[in-house]
């Protein structure tokens, strides 16, 4: 069983569209994250939820809206997609919101291409 799974794996869409990426973890973790990896491979935190509560909200355009229906799921919705949103988006989870003594588990990523 995949611990942190993201869908879709690849997403190609036109500018101006709205799209969602889904993430699910079956580890029983309380905290989930979204990271963005840009074309230069830089990885940066976007959001974090702890047990459905938003706890980290970095400087991200408000076209990006995370939603956590329960602590096992964290989805990312993006409105009015722009070329600059093209990136790989990684979901991750950790046991709780404290520093992760037991580490972070990452999904395999969603490669978003905006054309």
């Amino acid at each position: 069983d995949t611990a942190v799974s993201q869908t879709p794996k690849y997403l190609v869409t036109q500018m101006g569209n709205d799209k969602s990426i889904k993430c699910e973890q079956n580890l029983g973790h309380d905290t989930m994250y979204w990271y963005k990896q840009d074309s230069k491979k830089f990885l940066k935190i976007m959001f974090s939820y702890n047990n459905k509560e938003l706890i980290i909200n970095e400087t991200v355009p408000n076209r990006f809206s995370p939603k956590s229906p329960d602590k096992a799921h964290l989805n990312l919705h993006i409105n009015s997609l722009e070329l600059g949103d093209s990136a790989v988006y990684f979901c991750a989870s950790s046991q709780n919101r404290d520093r992760a003594e037991y580490g972070y588990t990452f999904g395999s990523g969603t490669r978003l291409t905006v054309v």
């Binding site: 990271y35 491979k41 830089f42 935190i45 395999s108």
Partner: protein, 110 residues
């Protein structure tokens, strides 16, 4: 803010030679430090972490890292590199979220 730096964009070594990937950190308090590896078109895989205890940390795939408080470094090492170790390596610090270095591309030539 806590941060890590990877001073080398690329490291090239011959198979069988020692491999070192450098990382320095800037943190207040006790650092939680991690190494992750990313193979082409793949996700991030955990290699090892330093939380507390022994300064030499052993991880997956024969990798180890040495925590050096006086030099604020956490270099990743492997005694004998394999071609299959060619990948992108990230150092990261845990500040209630992971903050990553810029990554180091390792190429191991046969």
């Amino acid at each position: 803010a806590q941060s890590v730096a990877q001073p080398e964009d690329q490291v090239n070594v011959a198979e069988g030679n020692p491999l070192t990937v450098k990382c320095t950190y800037s943190v207040s308090g006790n650092p939680y430090l991690f190494w992750y590896v990313q193979y082409p078109n793949r996700g991030l895989q955990f290699l090892l972490k330093y939380i507390t205890g022994d300064n030499l940390v052993k991880g997956s795939y024969g990798f180890e890292a040495e925590f050096n408080k006086s030099q604020t470094s956490f270099h990743l090492k492997k005694p004998s590199a394999l071609v299959s170790d060619s990948a992108l390596y990230f150092c990261a610090v845990d500040d209630y979220k992971l903050s990553f270095g810029a990554g180091t591309t390792v190429t191991v030539r046969a």
